[in-house]
């Protein structure tokens, strides 16, 4: 799943003087998101295209239906999410941008994929001659990870908001 160690080193440097919430956010990011992505989710999504079976013999229909069902794979979506969400820390662009990106990606995920994957995807797309039943590979396992990643994104968002609050409180306190 690529080499996350570069991002890791950069983030560690950027977070040296972070608050407790900031350090916790970093740990959540590394352990619950990057590690789970690489060690678990990647395997579960490994055969998503090969295991996507449609009851049709029409050439190209299966590919078109897969493309319609998953415009972007969850894995790639989460990789982009992690990269974008880490960027404000790296560029010291502020926690608000960080929170906005997190919310944006979570909303995007819900809009694109919903909360769960159904085993059956009914597809009506050219060149399929008729409505075609397509079956997603490992839908239950994928749903587990979708919910897990959504949960960790929520936790990250909460930590980020806690850090914003903490920093604001420190600045607003007289002499703080």
């Amino acid at each position: 799943m690529g080499d996350w160690s570069v991002l890791g080193r950069l983030l560690e440097g950027a977070h040296e003087h972070a608050t407790a919430a900031g350090h916790l956010w970093l740990s959540v990011l590394f352990v619950f998101r990057i590690l789970v992505l690489g060690a678990a989710a990647e395997r579960a999504w490994g055969d998503e295209a090969a295991g996507f079976a449609c009851d049709t013999q029409q050439p190209g229909c299966q590919s078109a239906c897969y493309d319609s069902a998953f415009p972007i794979s969850h894995l790639r979506f989460w990789a982009l999410q992690i990269i974008f969400v880490s960027t404000p820390s790296l560029l010291h662009l502020g926690h608000v941008l960080h929170a906005l990106l997190e919310v944006g990606f979570m909303a995007g995920q819900c809009a694109l994929f919903g909360f769960a994957l159904q085993p059956l995807y009914a597809c009506r797309r050219w060149p399929c001659p008729n409505a075609v039943n397509c079956y997603v590979a490992r839908p239950t396992e994928k749903t587990v990870f979708v919910l897990f990643m959504l949960g960790t994104a929520c936790v990250s968002l909460l930590l980020n908001l806690a850090e914003i609050y903490h920093l604001a409180a420190t600045k607003c306190r007289p002499g703080g």
Partner: protein, 369 residues
Amino acid sequence: MGDWSFLGEFLEEVHKHSTVVGKVWLTVLFIFRMLVLGTAAESSWGDEQSDFMCDTQQPGCENVCYDKAFPISHVRFWVLQIIFVSTPSLVYMGHAMHTVRMEEKKKMKEAEIEAREMKNSSDTYYQQKCSVAEKAELSCWDESGGKIILRGSLLNTYVYSILIRTAMEVAFIVGQYILYGIFLETLYICQRAPCPHPVNCYVSRPTEKNVFIVFMLAVAVLSLFLSLAELYHLGWKKAKERCSRAYKSSPSTVPGRLESAPQVERAQMYTPPPDFNQCLASPNGKFISPFSNKVASQQNTANFATERVHGQEDAASEGPFIKSSYAESPEVANECAAPAFPESYFNEKRRLSKTSRASSKARSDDLSV
């Protein structure tokens, strides 16, 4: 198998500041769970779906039957198990690091105050500042010795982390049993739309998978046992310390020695952090340079007075727990420590600093002792 180095580095730090049983638990985690999972179990489950054969031509039937047979693959289940079981230790580590950071900040502030007040020197003023400093002595961080001393909220966090870890372990073992039972059968009979009728499906490599399932289950039970042993060990040690404290507490002798002994000796004998005097004498200490011997010994006197007052509860929690201390002057450590620390807890020399997470080398911003 994904990048376990992040989790590995965190857990390495936990490893350095754990009790003996905790270290064994972590070793079991690293070697028997993570390593086996990554090197062996992964490849055994590699073709679990592609070789999951059903005797049907119905498109989609194999997919849905595999999904029904394995809602979540064993390997992913174990990955989540390892992550969730490790998390409480990370929380404890976070708390410990937070405590260390707070102590460092407090000491910095006190040093600044001391330096300022030294200019308007008067004995009574020192006494006041010593009383500020004595509160820091009751902290969990023994800076001069490089120790984390478990007491108060840090001890509570440690115990809670072990309790939660135990609960997670039990939950995952029970969960695995509910999902899959203990053994995998070769044949799985599936009835689910769009399969038109009950269909025979055949699991790939069932025997090899069973070997690993039993192995991982056994390791989980072993980890559970180690967690319970650690809890028992902590509880027993604490009770033992309390009993011995109840016998030994005779504060009358100690003040006598305090009055008669010269100041420096007094400081050496009764100062709770054993290497504190070494710390004071060190020319490299960043924030200890403003201290004078007079300040130090008066501070020690105040500390001692406080220690007497809080003697029982301090010693009870201070005694048996996590130590990672410099062994540069162990004889001083043994002399100075008021309660007797069991040697078995005398661990590695690396002390915890806020940036120590990723590397065990000393850093330039570590406070020197």
